[in-house]
């Protein structure tokens, strides 16, 4: 089920840059026409898109399933917010601290897992374990407010102080938009480099990649570290946009799960999939909230949301972006991971328990 070799080198259709330019222009002009509600929804979309892109580096590019990315959001959020609350440090400096800690945490988790050859489902469960462990630890860590929460002074929404990230939602909108576009460019750059090809090789067949002489350990470590550090950036924006932090919600496994959905629904390993997925899923969620609010039935919204997820996953296993892109003639290169594992690979991976005992 591998895509033909040549598709990797297929030239990008000319329509793609034009479509991208149109998208950027529309998004940049949006605050001029959008009301407060629409702007707040678009900020949610951008948060979702950024996080899904950052997560996609690990899962989509290198094939490493992490269900614990809330850990890195929480680290970024708490590091910057605690420094700001206690010392008045600028969040940009706090971001430096948060990103560094998150990247180190990611590197440590990755190094431990890959050194001991923990892979597949076991790696995913290990990421959950670290996130949950940290959540309970943060619940009892007084310096960051423990379980009663950490609060930032309420922002003056009239002026925008970018250096201290105090300002109107529209400031966050443009910062997040810039972050999403920067990550898009970074993804494009990485996939065209040696490391991008190494990641995809590892994703498709780790043993074969090793046989080709790729340093699998270092490549996987690079993916985890980069993804963790980038995820922490969103944590900083989260803290200063919402102004309150609780370990219970920021480290929640529900957040880890939610942030990976746009990438999977949109198209794993693609550049635009996570962005499209963020629009679709956030839009779906908002539409369902508005539609079901009148009926006042608890849980109906979630039921429908789950139903849509199930339908998409049954009908479009490769995600929605590759399907749309092919129809619009935008080209879906780089190609997403194979949606069916060949039986031989399945037999071999067997839940990816270590082949060699540590």
């Amino acid at each position: 089920m591998r895509a033909p070799f040549s598709s990797l080198f297929a030239g990008r259709p000319r329509r793609a840059p034009a479509a991208l330019a149109l998208f950027v222009a529309a998004m940049a002009a949006m605050p001029l026409v959008a009301g407060d509600y629409l702007l707040s929804v678009l900020i949610l979309v951008l948060f979702a898109a950024y996080l899904a892109q950052a997560w996609n580096i690990m899962m989509g590019f290198a094939g490493l399933l992490s269900i614990g990315h809330a850990l890195y959001i929480g680290i970024g959020a708490y590091a910057s917010a605690a420094l700001f609350v206690h010392y008045g440090t600028s969040p940009w400096i706090g971001m430096l601290a948060g990103v560094t800690i998150a990247a180190l945490a990611g590197a440590a988790i990755g190094a431990l897992s890959f050194r001991f050859k923990v892979g597949g489902v076991y790696f995913a469960l290990l990421t959950i374990a670290f996130a949950e462990f940290t959540r309970i630890l943060a619940d009892h860590f007084g310096w960051i407010g423990a379980s009663s929460g950490l609060f930032l002074p309420v922002a003056n929404r009239a002026t925008s102080d970018v250096w201290h990230l105090r300002g109107a939602p529209v400031m966050f909108y443009y910062l997040l938009l810039a972050a999403v576009l920067a990550l898009l460019a970074l993804g494009r750059l990485l996939l065209g480099r040696r490391i991008g090809y190494y990641w995809q090789a590892i994703r498709e067949d780790e043993e074969a990649a090793k046989a080709l002489g790729i340093d699998v350990f270092r490549c996987k470590l690079a993916a985890v570290t980069l993804s963790a550090g980038l995820t922490a950036v969103a944590g900083v924006f989260h803290a200063f946009y919402y102004n309150n932090l609780y370990p219970e919600t920021i480290f929640a496994i529900g957040r880890s799960v939610e942030l990976m959905l746009p990438a999977i629904i949109g198209g794993l390993g693609t550049l635009f999939g996570p962005i499209l997925g963020a629009f679709l899923l956030t839009g779906l969620s908002e539409a369902l909230t508005n539609a079901t609010a009148d009926w006042g039935i608890d849980g109906l919204k979630q039921l429908l949301y789950g139903l849509v997820l199930a339908i998409v996953v049954v009908l479009r296993p490769d995600g929605i972006w590759p399907w749309i892109a092919a129809r619009l003639g935008l080209g879906a290169a780089p190609h997403p991971p194979a949606s069916r594992v060949p039986p031989s690979a399945r037999e071999r991976s067997e839940g990816a328990l270590p082949q060699g005992q540590p």
Binding site: L65, F133, V341, L353
Partner: protein, 286 residues
């Protein structure tokens, strides 16, 4: 003596955990699908037993076989109708499917039973046995007894029944099982049904010990993962050992440190086992 009481209570609760985890272990061991909706099925079992108690005044202990049978049928149908198509898909697709099922189950329970905590009123709820100073709650003994009986039944099924042996053959050698003419799809559906029945039975028993509400599900899913990995995925004895260990660890850390930190020690144990002995304490070397 207080410590002994706590240890025994932890072990007895652990037995119910073990039955829950057995369900997960059976499903993963044979079908190689990680059931991320396991906690949701557990809570469904709890609500099933609650409804039988509320409307038919059935003791959760007697509700257990009925709930188990109902969940067997539901699990069978689910595997046949939906999950079977995902057996050969990569892990993240399976995860997404199970997640969608989990979301739908939770919200359906929220719609059906509401968000409030529910419990059963039993006239023996506060009885306890006094074994030479050692106080043991009656409900805990009954729950653990039910769990052990369920686990024994499962063991006997896989050891002696023809279908049980056939399922083991599927798990050992998928291709070989097909070659000798086993109906793998049907056996997979039975396996998922058995896993669901285990967790349903465990849910009925758990209702003797705790109140039920729809949001318990995620915690139980994670708990089942921890137990199964600590004990060894796919190993029946491992799930039992893991359940008892986690029950003990929860009881001890709740007593000595802080009840709100009890699951942190479970996660600590999980991380340790994954790094030092990833196949689990009793898992086979792969």
């Amino acid at each position: 003596m207080l410590l002994a009481n706590i240890l025994v209570a932890g072990l007895l609760t652990g037995a119910v955990y073990a039955l829950m985890a057995l369900g997960l272990s059976v499903i993963f061991g044979v079908i190689r699908i990680v059931n991320f909706a396991h906690g949701e099925m557990m809570v469904l079992g709890m609500f099933g037993a609650w409804a039988l108690n509320r409307f038919l005044h059935l003791d959760p202990l007697w509700a257990m076989p009925l709930v188990a049978a109902a969940l067997f049928l539901a699990g069978y149908a689910l595997q046949r109708g939906l999950i079977n198509r995902f057996v050969a898909r990569p892990e993240h697709m399976q995860f997404l499917l199970m997640l969608a099922i989990a979301i739908m189950l939770t919200s359906a329970m929220l719609m059906g039973f509401g968000p409030d905590a529910r419990n059963v009123q039993l006239d023996y709820a506060f009885d306890s046995y006094d074994l030479g100073g050692l106080l043991v709650d009656k409900v805990r003994v009954l729950a653990a007894g039910g769990a052990v009986a369920g686990a024994a039944l499962l063991w006997a099924f896989f050891r002696f029944a023809r279908t049980g042996k056939a399922i083991r053959a599927c798990a050992d050698n998928y291709l070989g099982a097909q070659v000798v003419g086993l109906d793998v799809k049907r056996l997979y559906a039975i396996t998922f049904g058995i896993g669901a029945a285990c967790v349903g039975a465990a849910g009925s028993l758990m209702l003797l010990l705790v109140d039920v509400h729809p949001y318990l599900a995620t915690d139980y899913t994670l708990l089942a993962f921890i137990i199964v990995i600590v004990g060894g995925l796919g190993s029946l004895g491992g799930a039992l050992l893991g359940g008892l260990l986690i029950g003990l660890s929860e009881a001890l850390s709740g007593f000595f440190i802080d009840p709100s930190m009890k699951s942190m020690f479970s996660y600590g144990l999980l991380i340790l086992v994954l790094l030092v002995r990833p196949q689990g304490l009793l898992g086979r070397r792969l």
